[in-house]
Symmetry: C2
Subunit: 456 residues, 2 copies
């Protein structure tokens, strides 16, 4: 299509900013989609991003922004045009201790952002499985969640300000760390979660917190999800924001992970909770308080981490679920949430419906019960590879029917991308979709930004 693209970009970009599409081509995190862009651009500066978008806007060339390429819904897959890698825009611009804020560029890897905060004696709390390679811009574009949302909020809650290049190359910059600001419609939140369809996030000012000084980690075996929800309610009433993580793990998920990790299971039960409390005030007896509380409340099937090694082993059991389930083949994943009060009914009813349709289906169910958010991964034992996706629509239909019955969402923390956008009309009203289209048309009249993603 655009065979003269390199020549065109050479007129205004540095040679180091223009890359040939690699061979073999870039595929996505789930090894499901292949990017086939005409060109890969890796701008060194925000002004290069502006020049690229201005040129693409004028010449109707599509642009797909890409961060760490760790997305699970195909939002960063480029079929044609420009694949815009933000990797070189990765600088720390400012840390402001009075405002507990940090301004960093979009291409900074999440782990580096965590480290930059730690070096300044602060915590940047977003934490998720791909933190070693995902980038802040992608985290914002997808409104990433993860392990610490209960205490610190999702990515949306951690953004104080954004710097954005609009599809026509215009720069909009609001990076000042303002903790209160209500001057007209809040456009920042439109860009958070917009998956690269409205412009390119080039930098962000993020909220920091005090570093935790104490951690208490407990594993509790329980007979039911309802029992786990009751425990959550009690712990939240008593420990409030000290509760940082409250993870649910099914017996099947734990069995897989324990075998893979070669670790002993901390408890024998149908359902398991791994919870972490943290406190930034030093010298508090948090572990003792938690132990006493669980004992008083009669939770006997529980283990408290007595050392850093024990804490790491408990977390390894949780974190290795994803890796361990690969032995079951390729899964159809669901990134869902319901009101916490309805998680138990959803799991019971949906699992029964799936088993009625596919007698031997295997369900790996785990996730962030403290947010009502589940990873609900389904495997068909006879199908190991990507052929399983032939059943995706049937399985999704069953799962999402139950999700909607229980007032839930089909996209909790992974976004919509290209695999779920045809579901948007089931979860948003016509008026809302019309408004989304009007916003998109105003900012991106030629539909160059990440076409085919997010919007139905």
């Amino acid at each position: 299509m655009h065979t003269n693209l390199p020549t065109s970009f050479q007129t205004f970009l540095d040679a180091s900013e223009i890359l040939e599409p690699p061979s073999p081509p870039i595929i996505d995190q789930r090894r499901r989609f292949t990017s086939t862009p005409d060109i890969i651009l890796q701008p060194n500066s925000v002004s290069s991003v502006q020049k690229i978008l201005c040129f693409c806007h004028k010449n109707r060339i599509t642009v797909t922004p890409q961060g760490g390429n760790t997305g699970l819904c195909g939002a960063a897959v480029a079929r044609q045009g420009v694949l815009l890698s933000l990797s070189k825009l990765n600088k720390l611009r400012e840390i402001n201790l009075a405002d507990n804020s940090m301004t960093i560029e979009a291409g900074m890897i999440l782990q580096h952002a965590q480290q930059a905060a730690a070096q300044a004696g602060r915590l940047f709390p977003l934490s998720l499985a791909s933190e070693g390679s995902c980038q802040i811009g992608g985290n914002i574009a997808c409104n990433a969640g993860g392990l610490n949302v209960l205490r610190y909020g999702a990515m949306r809650d951690l953004v104080l300000g954004l710097e954005i290049v609009l599809p026509d190359g215009t720069l909009v910059s609001h990076l000042q760390p303002l903790h209160k600001n209500t001057t007209g419609y809040d456009l920042r939140h439109l860009f958070i979660g917009s998956e690269g369809t409205l412009g390119v996030i080039t930098a962000a000012t993020l909220k920091l917190s005090a570093c935790p000084q104490t951690t208490a980690t407990a594993w509790i075996g329980l007979p039911s999800i309802d029992g786990a929800v009751k425990l959550l309610t009690k712990i939240q009433s008593h420990f409030d924001e000290r509760l940082c993580s409250f993870e649910l793990i099914s017996r099947f998920a734990l069995d897989l992970s324990a075998k893979f990790s070669q670790l002993t299971k901390p408890a024998d039960a149908d359902w398991h909770i791994l919870m972490a409390l943290t406190d930034s005030v030093p010298d508090t007896d948090l572990a003792e308080q938690l132990a006493e509380y669980l004992y008083r409340q009669g939770y006997e099937n529980s283990v408290l981490a007595q050392s850093e090694q024990e804490r790491q082993e408990l977390w390894a059991l949780r974190e290795n679920i994803s890796a361990s389930q690969r032995n079951l083949g390729t899964s159809i994943k669901h990134d869902i949430a319901t009101p916490i009060a309805r998680v138990a009914d959803f799991v019971t009813e949906c699992s029964a419906a799936l088993k009625a349709r596919f007698a031997d289906i295997q369900i790996v169910c785990f996730g962030h019960l403290g947010d009502g958010s589940l990873h609900y991964n389904t495997f068909l034992p006879d199908i190991m590879g990507n052929e399983v996706y032939e059943y995706e629509d049937i399985i999704n239909t069953i799962v999402y029917r139950h999700i909607l019955k229980h007032c839930g969402t089909i996209a909790a923390e992974h976004g919509i991308g290209k695999i779920k956008n045809h579901w948007i009309p089931h979860v948003r009203t016509e008026a809302e979709i019309a408004l989304m289209r009007a916003i998109k048309a105003q900012l991106d009249p030629h539909n160059i930004m990440n076409p085919g993603k997010l919007l139905p």
Copy 2:
């Protein structure tokens, strides 16, 4: 204009929903603007709101939503058409303890919302001066702030879901308490802070927290704002989210309030901090920890509340500033914020510039230093009444010039309304204003919703 309005509305509303404009007419909180609507409607149900908007949309009749009429920027002042009072939509619909959420209607008074949460053993943390009469819908429409933002966030951060009637009468309802949900552009945040220009908020699902079990309250006299910012940074690093309020009060503001309140000043200093720490875990020695910390850090000019009465007296000194300053006449108020690190320079430079222009100007400066947010009220001693507004543009120009120099905002927590919308082009870019207009045009093509407010 619309002399047949009562007859028209009688065809589809109950008689109790239609009110004559009262005599004397409704004036706003600051006694500055008079509402002169053709009719006042007070719907009993969400479906009545839908019918009203559908009718007004078809007949091009303007609609100004009004909650408790406590706004400070004139956003709820109706010049003509319908004044839509939400007061009768004031029910508690649901409290959900597992999700720590509460669904209430827009017309519920903030204090009643706090009480409903308390009765369920939870805290709804929004707290501000007009909480006895302001309504939740207005709080959301203006993104209200107040005293507990530091710990719990502003109204925006407390909204899990909204029910909205769009300008054409269409209902959009997302009241499920989902803690993670990213399905397309986030429209909820567009409506929060939109001041009734995009539709009518009829209900909301709000986040609740655990009730504080312990409070520690301290008053500290300091020689400078810079010193107060240093104290804030230390306290946040040590006590993190236990810090709930961190209020700044100038010597002049304290003198006024102490005289008015007939209370002794807790310290002699140019600047004062009133701070509150809270903890929801019972039996913690928070007051002792705070006293020890302040002593160790050398803050000798400080007082810790030793009883509930002492706590209330310290807060009375803070809360009576607004009432006490009325003796100075009518003020030109500023609801501003800067990055916390720049508050001191802003105050020094701006006060000098104002005094250079008006030698005898009096400045009552106080507010939420923990959020960088100030009430910066200016009085011209020779002018007691509303004639002072003749100087509003001159004074605003000086204040906002310094605010913008220090990367601040002209509207922290009171909104824009009709008194600041001509300033929007100074703080938002052309592209942003074009997008705001496109959003408005898509939802409200006949511009019936609260015209002349918020947008420039």
